[in-house]
């Protein structure tokens, strides 16, 4: 018998923010599949108008509770670019180290607590605390290290306090960094166990040709600033981000949507990996190889694996960064800020993809106009098109309705959407 069913998931669980999935299939044919975003707007871009520059990173970090460090760093970069400031090498290294630890804590949160329950058929990580406590402890150990190092460098793991325009309010001690270097070296075996764990999971076989957008590598796997690139061959400068994002409004979403060369594009770990694979740390490339992940991979479910690969990359690179910081002596933590009139754009790769902040300043450094383009808002259109294609394929194959419902949810979760962030 051909499948007829309606799926109506209001407020998808185990994602950040509020989104709904609606699917209707009649006689094995897809009638409709919709990814709706119903999150309330908070109007950050309006809030900032009239505020002095020093408010921007502090307020904008609050766009997101998971990637507040990324928002703070993108905001700082936009202000510094507007004022013609270049951060010192020490500041660059510390910011990248901080960024890496946010990536690690966010990816581990997603992989273990949000994504993994689908693969072991539970509704959350909580039952696993009773059945396999060692797995939850392993996740907690990695996350704790990442968050502790965020506290050490950024002052606080969530809504950081030491990160300011011009650098840092204060620096970690060398003794602290030495201890973190050992903890990072020690965490490698926990990442190996994570790799083993994800090897047990069956990643759904699904593929839809997609354009992937990220920062473009310039000597290293990029996270903070630089040119923008897409797998369809588009290259733009950071300040031209609007030509890369082309935001527009749709009726089914309180978040804006984006497009570039096609109807939609994707950002995130898989996009970064597809564009910059050769610049991954060799240990990370090796993990990618274990899962048959090579560029350009068009399976959105592989974003989970791309995150795992990046966990290895950021840990290895953080050990090197700490070594370099310890090799030098401490310089002044903070540059003086001299506001001037103009526009500044900051592009930063946050866990869920490329993030842009842009501010126009008057000559006293007050914000005249602001614009933030969020990774998940860039992904929404692609999620919609993936969802249509996935359900179409499975409706024809006559999959059981429970399977389609689960796969549709897993698909959206693979993007690790940060929905309240996307609406902001």
């Amino acid at each position: 018998m051909k499948l007829t069913q309606t799926i109506d998931i209001r407020h998808l669980t185990r994602v950040e923010g509020h989104g709904n999935i609606k699917i209707s299939i009649r006689d094995g044919k897809l009638e409709e599949a919709r990814w709706e975003v119903v999150e309330t707007p908070r109007f950050f871009e309006a809030m900032l108008v009239g505020k002095k520059w020093e408010n921007a990173p502090w307020i904008c970090g609050r766009i997101c509770g998971i990637c507040s460090i990324g928002h703070t760093l993108a905001s700082i970069r936009a202000v510094e670019n507007a004022f013609g400031m270049v951060p010192s090498e020490q500041t660059k290294k510390l910011r990248l180290l901080l960024k890496h630890m946010e990536t690690l804590q966010s990816h581990v949160l997603h992989l273990y607590f949000l994504a993994a329950p689908d693969f072991v058929n539970t509704g959350s990580v909580f039952p696993i605390i009773d059945t396999k406590p060692e797995i939850v402890q392993q996740a907690a150990k990695i996350k704790l290290l990442a968050n502790d190092l965020c506290d050490c460098v950024g002052g606080r793991r969530l809504h950081p306090t030491r990160t300011v325009v011009g650098g840092f309010t204060m620096l970690p001690t060398r003794e602290e960094l030495v201890r973190f270097k050992y903890r990072l070296q020690d965490i490698h075996k926990d990442l190996e166990r994570t790799v083993d764990l994800f090897h047990l999971f069956r990643i759904p076989a699904f593929s839809r040709e997609t354009e992937f957008v990220s920062l473009k590598a310039d000597g290293s796997y990029p996270f903070i600033g630089g040119d923008l690139v897409s797998t369809d061959g588009v290259v733009k400068e950071e300040r031209e981000y609007r030509a890369m994002t082309n935001e527009y409004l749709v009726e089914q979403s309180t978040s804006k949507w984006s497009r570039l060369s096609r109807r939609s594009f994707a950002v995130g770990a898989l996009a970064r990996l597809n564009n910059n694979f050769a610049f991954l740390h060799p240990a990370a490339r090796e993990v990618a190889g274990l899962f048959g992940l090579a560029p350009v991979n068009h399976n959105p479910f592989m974003n989970n694996i791309a995150q795992l690969v990046e966990c290895v990359h950021v840990v290895m690179e953080s050990i090197d960064l700490i070594r370099e910081l310890l090799d030098g002596s401490w310089q002044e933590p903070r540059q003086k800020v001299e506001p001037r009139e103009g526009t500044g754009v900051g592009a930063v790769e946050v866990p869920r993809g490329i993030l842009y902040h842009s501010y126009d300043f008057d000559k006293e450094g007050r914000i005249v106009k602001s614009d933030c383009v969020i990774p998940t808002s860039q992904n929404h259109a692609n999620i919609q098109h993936d969802l249509e294609e996935l359900t179409r394929q499975y409706a024809v194959k006559g999959k059981r309705d429970r399977d389609i419902e689960l796969l549709a949810q897993m698909l959206v979760r693979s993007y690790d959407p940060c929905i309240s962030c996307s609406v902001h």
Binding site: E16, P41, V125, L158
Partner: protein, 270 residues
């Protein structure tokens, strides 16, 4: 997993009744809920203290049978008022969880603009978007039993408060300001470093989280009992900070909304 009753739990070795708790979010960054998951070192202890019934950010199962509701975020759209009223009707204890729920948080920064239509236009142009005219705290719509301050909330404080509820102890918020904790931590005074700070008037309990990082307090926890605002403004002026800088901090999280409004009105008349 089978559905039988969970095994009896102990917290730090002592058997405790586990209250049924639920987490909800209105307009927010969900960071305060994330702070629960950020409790890595004590996460398992904390989870043994409570019976989590609903936590959409972390679990698929949900239940309308709960004793304590933690509600994060502020109210910005009519459907949120309905959700909040339903939660209030179900919960024995309603906790305003974090500064957005307690005071409106950063969300209420948009309330300072006289024209809500202008705010909408800044983001959505002429396209229609449903939103209330202002971002409001929970207590504007329902009675709130307990407030946990902070942007974000401090995990140690949340654990202490929840442990007190479970053990039937009364929950006492610190009456003293952040400044006292900062002094106890032997930090250099931010004013001496040339930075503005609301530590002298902001409610303590965060262990002077921001000043510990040489970053002046922005008042996210709202005013301490008997906050001496006149003296605070005097100090800020004496150290040469402009009314704009003072206002930026006082109006950032909504806890000092009445004081900010007063300063704003004097600025307009002067």
């Amino acid at each position: 997993m089978d559905a039988k009753t969970p095994p009896p739990r102990t917290y730090l070795g002592i058997p405790v009744p586990r209250p049924k708790v639920a987490f909800f979010e209105l307009s927010s960054c969900e960071g305060c809920q994330l702070q629960i998951m950020n409790n890595e070192a004590t996460l398992l202890d904390f989870l043994s203290l409570v019976d989590v019934r609903t936590f959409r950010e972390a679990m698929t199962e949900r239940s309308d049978d709960y004793d304590i509701a933690f509600v994060e975020g502020s109210v910005t759209r009519s459907d949120e008022i309905e959700r909040l009223k339903k939660i209030r009707a179900t919960a024995r204890v309603l906790v305003a969880f974090g500064s957005c729920a307690c005071f409106g948080g950063v969300n209420q920064l948009r309330n300072r603009f006289a024209d809500p239509a202008w705010v909408k236009r800044q983001v959505y142009g002429d396209s229609p978007i449903e939103t209330n005219d202002a971002a409001r705290p929970l207590e504007d719509f329902v009675p709130v039993d307990l407030r946990i301050f902070g942007c974000p909330v401090k995990k140690e404080e949340v654990e202490k408060i929840v442990a007190n509820i479970v053990l039937g102890k009364s929950v006492v918020q610190p009456k003293y300001p952040v400044c006292m904790e900062c002094k106890a931590n032997e930090n250099a005074c931010l004013f001496d470093l040339g930075e503005p700070c609301l530590g002298p008037v902001t409610r303590g309990g965060c262990d002077s989280w921001c000043p510990n990082s040489r970053f002046g307090c922005w008042g996210c926890r709202g005013p301490a009992d008997d906050a001496n605002m006149v003296q605070m403004l005097e100090i800020l002026k004496n150290y040469g900070f402009s009314a704009e800088t003072i206002l930026d901090r006082l109006e950032c999280f909504g806890g000092f909304a009445s004081h900010a409004a007063e300063i704003r009105s004097t600025l307009k008349t002067s």
